[in-house]
Symmetry: C2
Subunit: 288 residues, 2 copies
């Protein structure tokens, strides 16, 4: 089932290729309301996503099955983006469509006092996916070169060293069998204003609103600069970044599903063979 | 939205009431292929489940929103059952339909060497849901009075004390704001044989097959006795057991969704009020 769909013209490969960060990529030139690689509308995207679910289920279960003996591959999907860029929607609609038994989701908040006393990658290491799992990070170690850089939470000599430390860390993670894909959801400043306004217009959305998010808008350009540095310095062949235009939520969800599906397909996993005598076991079961 | 559906005739309340363990309940008298409280067939059940999703989403999000300040209620759904009783299907089809950001799922395997050196509830405590979350246990501390009792893994004086220890523990959990619901998926021995045979007939299911599961079939009556003791001694008003006939997978899924929905409705949660000045924030956002 996995094999017949792996053509070069498929949507998952096409969108992944278009969004993957390559040398010379400039964040400031990306249209945040574009839909690269997809000509349809929202309803078309939703149909594509629904139609892909059986294949994703199949591939995810193969991944999980291969992890049962404790040494198969795993996937780590890192999701970053400004406030209101739609990370929660990705968790709900893309990650949420996968069997929860195969998902290890962690949302990184501002570090606790204990976490601050440790090296910045310490809390990240605790949450790495085990063999067979799809790990999902809602924010990540990249905050340590984003908000930390924008607000000078550590001296520049410290955050400057972190790009190399992150690359070395991710190299060790991929060496251990974890396939790392990193997604940045990219919205415009105008779109963020509209989304914050919407939260303030609906009492069922108040809980998502944080006055600090407005204060952060003053640092918009600083964040763009910090994201550009992340993309320039940490998008590697083995742990690439994908920048997803995210003003249209439906496109962002479609795109992240394509990136995940493309990665799952690339594993080309078969079902693990029986480690017992099938005929003998059939007889044993029948005899009980 | 939550309030108008809370009538005494609704399906969630009806099925929950029928499956809830009350004094004198006898496991051996339950028809494992019955569908208590539901007259429809598989397709009807699937439609009911799909139709309830929007309400579950709404109630789960209210729960999550109320947990944001660190002291709202939470839910703990404990799922137990013999091998092949369909625990994985519940995780995939019922738990999997809920926003993964609000789910904290943990599958308890045979205890590790470190876990064995600790009191049996130690590893359970680590996995209790935080405020706002729906915790789900795939197996649980009940294994410590099920497999442990059946195979005499500890002296009888030890496992006998555990019923009281479990009740005291669950009391402390509910006191802390966690609503505990416990589900036993109950299949017949014949149904288990059929499901084991099916795993042996399909190469994509071999990985789920464990020769030890057949060996365990010899202890079927011992497990029934151990489950009966669990139901007799640990089904309390605050942490009740529900026994779900599970020979029909579609009914088991429907039933567990009703039990979860019934519990979510019972919380009667409103959206948390704004802890900021809405008008002032609207002006701030518009000015950026």
């Amino acid at each position: 089932m996995a094999k017949k769909k792996r053509s070069k013209n498929d949507l998952a490969a096409k969108i992944s290729e278009k969004l993957r960060v390559t040398e010379g990529f400039e964040l400031s030139k990306l249209a945040t309301d574009a839909t690269p690689g997809f000509k349809g509308k929202k309803a078309d995207a939703e149909k594509v996503m629904a139609d892909q679910r059986a294949e994703i289920d199949d591939l995810q279960e193969r991944l999980y099955a291969n992890g049962r003996d404790g040494d198969g591959p795993s996937i780590l999907l890192v999701v970053q983006g400004m406030d209101t860029s739609g990370k929660g929607g990705i968790m709900r609609h893309v990650v949420g469509s996968v069997d929860p038994q195969g998902i290890s989701l962690h949302a990184f908040k501002a570090p606790t006092a204990e976490e601050k006393r440790r090296p910045f990658l310490w809390r990240i290491r605790q949450q790495l996916p085990k063999p067979g799992m799809i790990g999902v990070f809602d924010r990540s170690h990249y905050e340590d070169v984003l908000i930390v850089r924008v607000h000078n939470l550590v001296p520049p000599t410290t955050w400057r060293r972190r790009y190399g430390q992150i690359n070395a860390f991710e190299q060790s993670v991929t060496d251990a069998g974890t396939h790392v894909v990193k997604v940045m959801l990219h919205i415009s400043s105008d779109e963020q204003r509209a989304r914050l306004s919407e939260r303030l217009a609906r009492p069922d959305k108040y809980w998502k609103y944080n006055p600090g998010d407005v204060t952060e808008r003053e640092f918009w350009d600083g964040y763009l600069e910090a994201y550009q540095a992340v993309l320039d310095r940490t998008s590697t062949d083995e742990a690439p970044w994908y920048v997803v235009p995210a003003d249209r939520k439906w496109y962002a969800r479609l795109a992240v599903q394509q990136i995940l599906l493309n990665e799952l397909r690339s594993l080309q996993l078969d079902w693990p063979p029986a480690d017992f005598d099938v005929k003998a076991e059939q007889k044993r079961v029948a005899a009980t």
